[in-house]
Symmetry: D2
Subunit: 356 residues, 4 copies
Amino acid sequence: MSGNSIGKVLVITTFGESHGPAVGGVLDGFPSNILIDVSFIQSELNRRKTKSWFYASARNEEDEIEILSGIFENKSTGAPIAFIVRNKNARPADYKQLKDVYRPSHADFTWEMKYGIRDYLGGGRSSARETVARVAGGAIAKLLLNNHRISILSYVSQIGTVKLPDGFTVIDPDTILKSPVLCPDEETSHRMIALLENLKSEGDTTGGIINCIISGVPVGLGEPVFDKLQADLAKAMLSINAVKGFEYGSGFGAAAMKGSEHNDPFVFKDNHITTSTNFSGGIQGGISNGNEIFFRVAFKPPPTLMRDQKTVNSKGQKVILKGKGRHDVCMVPRALPIVEAMAALVLADHLIRNTK
Amino acid sequence: MSGNSIGKVLVITTFGESHGPAVGGVLDGFPSNILIDVSFIQSELNRRKTKSWFYASARNEEDEIEILSGIFENKSTGAPIAFIVRNKNARPADYKQLKDVYRPSHADFTWEMKYGIRDYLGGGRSSARETVARVAGGAIAKLLLNNHRISILSYVSQIGTVKLPDGFTVIDPDTILKSPVLCPDEETSHRMIALLENLKSEGDTTGGIINCIISGVPVGLGEPVFDKLQADLAKAMLSINAVKGFEYGSGFGAAAMKGSEHNDPFVFKDNHITTSTNFSGGIQGGISNGNEIFFRVAFKPPPTLMRDQKTVNSKGQKVILKGKGRHDVCMVPRALPIVEAMAALVLADHLIRNTK
Amino acid sequence: MSGNSIGKVLVITTFGESHGPAVGGVLDGFPSNILIDVSFIQSELNRRKTKSWFYASARNEEDEIEILSGIFENKSTGAPIAFIVRNKNARPADYKQLKDVYRPSHADFTWEMKYGIRDYLGGGRSSARETVARVAGGAIAKLLLNNHRISILSYVSQIGTVKLPDGFTVIDPDTILKSPVLCPDEETSHRMIALLENLKSEGDTTGGIINCIISGVPVGLGEPVFDKLQADLAKAMLSINAVKGFEYGSGFGAAAMKGSEHNDPFVFKDNHITTSTNFSGGIQGGISNGNEIFFRVAFKPPPTLMRDQKTVNSKGQKVILKGKGRHDVCMVPRALPIVEAMAALVLADHLIRNTK
Amino acid sequence: MSGNSIGKVLVITTFGESHGPAVGGVLDGFPSNILIDVSFIQSELNRRKTKSWFYASARNEEDEIEILSGIFENKSTGAPIAFIVRNKNARPADYKQLKDVYRPSHADFTWEMKYGIRDYLGGGRSSARETVARVAGGAIAKLLLNNHRISILSYVSQIGTVKLPDGFTVIDPDTILKSPVLCPDEETSHRMIALLENLKSEGDTTGGIINCIISGVPVGLGEPVFDKLQADLAKAMLSINAVKGFEYGSGFGAAAMKGSEHNDPFVFKDNHITTSTNFSGGIQGGISNGNEIFFRVAFKPPPTLMRDQKTVNSKGQKVILKGKGRHDVCMVPRALPIVEAMAALVLADHLIRNTK
């Protein structure tokens, strides 16, 4: 049983390879009568392609969304919403040399072993290009969340060894957009850029961490016991290429805390029950408690280097993989819309599941 | 749509409340003709109940497994395997005082808001007692994995502020069993115990981290793109009460690494292709690569304290929650079989999915 | 992937073999705060056991329901509702002779080929005893439907060659209960009984047809395009042992009709839009239209005869299967609560799916 | 939760409206390394469009398949296979008059009530045009079945009041193709055509019955207890627009049979165990027994008539629906590839489920 769908009631199924005719998806279970602003979907796709010197792999092509179904007179009809983005810039010849080579820390080896066949053009189905469909589907999910005043904000909190200062809080979302690396602290942002320049000159890459905050979530989203809200968020995040870790609320730091520090006391404020702290990260017992949901996602360095690397081919023979072309030094700034899209899909699914 | 099932082809559905008649589960999709050793299932349940002075909440009752179906002459038949464990020690009267109180960082508030009704006896369905069914189901999954020579080892790597030394490696699994806190390093184990004694005297609690290693996994488990092996492991772990984070392979540390450090070069060794390092944690492109799968799970401190805490009741009135009874200072040692059970269920599900 | 669950949002998973410790089920996705009358569930189970001379196989044991979870102070909590019925009357020794014999038109041969192992005690999992769990789960579904004023009525319309007169309509449900064969027409009922007496004396059996009417269904249940309401009803009915056919509304008769006869004209009546005829059987485009849903289910004759039959054993050797013990001459009267239970589960699932 | 997917391991999700940009589907779970002959898929789509005087609604456009993903160098890769067929002939203006009118026995009323919005262009998502995706997906499934020597044959056995003679058996599949109505008996075929001519002159329509035979099915397909092979076939057939009934093997006729007539004795023949008769229709206990699977599907008359009909609009006002344009007199001959496609999808799903 394959795994190209996610969600239980709002289900997205994605398809497409890096150099095939198109990537796309089908979003089923979306409520009827929701206004669908296609230009918003397009703008989310554009965020994925932010062009900077350190995002060398950004194709020049435009990722143009085409909606195939499910919308009538600009509104959702309750029918499945299918969409595609054509791959315009395919250059199969560039990849012939990789046909039999297993690139280190790529999916080449495992996919070939599993399926006995491999689309080696740009990684085929294992390519990050697959996330185009996630972002488009997530954008539609966001349109539903917006109607419920749920909003998602993400930013880069770490690139390589450079991190935001401890206790840093985002006051003004615009500070994120002002940073070329989408880090809300100007000084940290400068240091991140300096690091990326260094790595680029060395033909090297690095990882990073994305922080995400979801606001306006009503009490009650999440389904015990296995589909806890944090469990579905964790799965969604770990399903993104290159993600190595997920934590929410107090996260790994909780291990070192005392219960007396960590517990969030309930208080009655502004006519409703809430908590005075939020180490719980907005989720208790697997169900949202009305506070902000906060989580962090760790990414590994991109495995494609501008350096020669040792590896083997499918016959087990030693091969030197030449570093050529132009590739991302770090993927986290471009991954923000992907993290948000997956969060939006999870939240929208649970929103619909809860209102049944 | 509720969330009491997990797995796609090997599916476990669990049921039961802390003080209801029984907790149990149904495991469907289990292959036929597998020898089912009920005493092994029982022994896994017993691990969950390890009795030490700092596991005060361990009920004195025995958790006795009863298999209701799916086994014929000691072998699985392909029919669903249902099992129950009776709750023998229910004392509803103890909980009457909590009927209207929302305990801090428990599931009381969110569950009552979501369902409009709450079984307040020992947390009802939100109780950690629910994990009995996970452990029993996981034990059956382990029987299948054993047949494929896949084994799972877990240990405590951190309790509160006390951690295993950097770079520590488990050489001998017996060192884990020798430690009252199931930490493989004797010196660290002593310091953990000292910390727990201190916390106990303060009526406080703390969190911890569990490391888990899965050996013998064949190449090919995991289903792109959403059911990547790490994604399903992450979901399974975050579905456990009190878990706050998950990382695999290089984990959060990957964020600070360079690609040239992090990439795992392919080599040809012992007549097969493998990698010379394992920052990938045994999974590449969402699919197992034949190396050890390594992941870590962070737990928060138990929220029930032996101290008075401020909170509110369902009317929003301030209440002092009395610390009484006897409760766990730290849950990670008792959580090892739960982490292993969830890992076993995920691995067995993917094993069956892959051999189709 | 096994098939012991049915339903998409309200999901029932059943388990248990004919002569194992128990049969039972888990109903997940049931709304919270619904009053659960356990005596009603018990009364539905009792209907399955109607004792008459021609239902010889009815065990003398009582099928006593035990609810294990999901109910708190007589109300559903939103947690899964698990229930079991113990098998009290198991007599394994009776079945030893059948260990290697494939009974004609039973499941012995196919199950053994599929699983490589067979629980031959009373048919094991393939036994009609499995329907105990369907009836119990269906009873709980009926409690939800009752709250929405949806009711289900079924009756026997044909046994062997004896049928209700053409155009017969049930005016008074009590006429069904008055008939030992649950056929609402007294004269037909007499003829059915005469037929059954004859067959019994010959050691033979026969089939029959059940008609089912669901009233009070709101407009809107059913999910295009594959989960049309009639599609899910058809699957549910064909999943019952011995069912050979399903038709709804005009059914097979529609093949011979003209469009001008068959079309149901829309009219405005009693302040709402409805149709003046109901050849559609209450469903149009896969979605309920507010009219009565009407369907029919055909059953084959019970394959266990009180006569000797030729067959082969697992080695392919000819064997004479002795007709002994006491077995049903016809199963349709006892199948009414099963048909109703499956209809209730389908309707309740779609009711919940629609109100999301 | 919507219902635009069918299958458990081999899953097809379809999308698209009658007059939207395209109809299409995603087939996930298809094995890798299967040769995909796109011209075969195209030829199956062409069967759906057979042009005869009594299939007036056949659009002149060609239904051209475009494969978007999952195929690499003519072979399946294990990735989802997405495909679309563009709608070239959309004429929205033709449908403006139907915007507020509920056509009798169409889906207009129920869909508008359910979703609060209706794509009234040619029936939108409820149009039979949706079956294009079924036929394309079914064609791919057939490619897999062919590899396993499983073949599907269907033919028209009844149109209106004209039926094949009792006991008729198809000897030569070519006799089906020779008939303009795809009925294998020449004389019956002539009478069917005469009936259709009559109906056409009256502006009327009629229903019919399709028989389907699946050969070469191995023992073991089908999953107890709810996913019995016949249950999944029944659901698949009833999910087709206009289908009113399904029966397999002895079908509704079984009701009138005696057990001694109906039982299929096991015999040992040609070195394997089989049955000497096949009233079971190739399935016992929900699992294929190696014999031919035989089933029948009843269709209602097309509801669009070339006559005026009384109905109401969305305000409940009486309206005369004008019969105009050109529409099918009977749909069964064109439905053969749809019935076969759904059968192929069910069989392929169970084939994969069984080989796991």
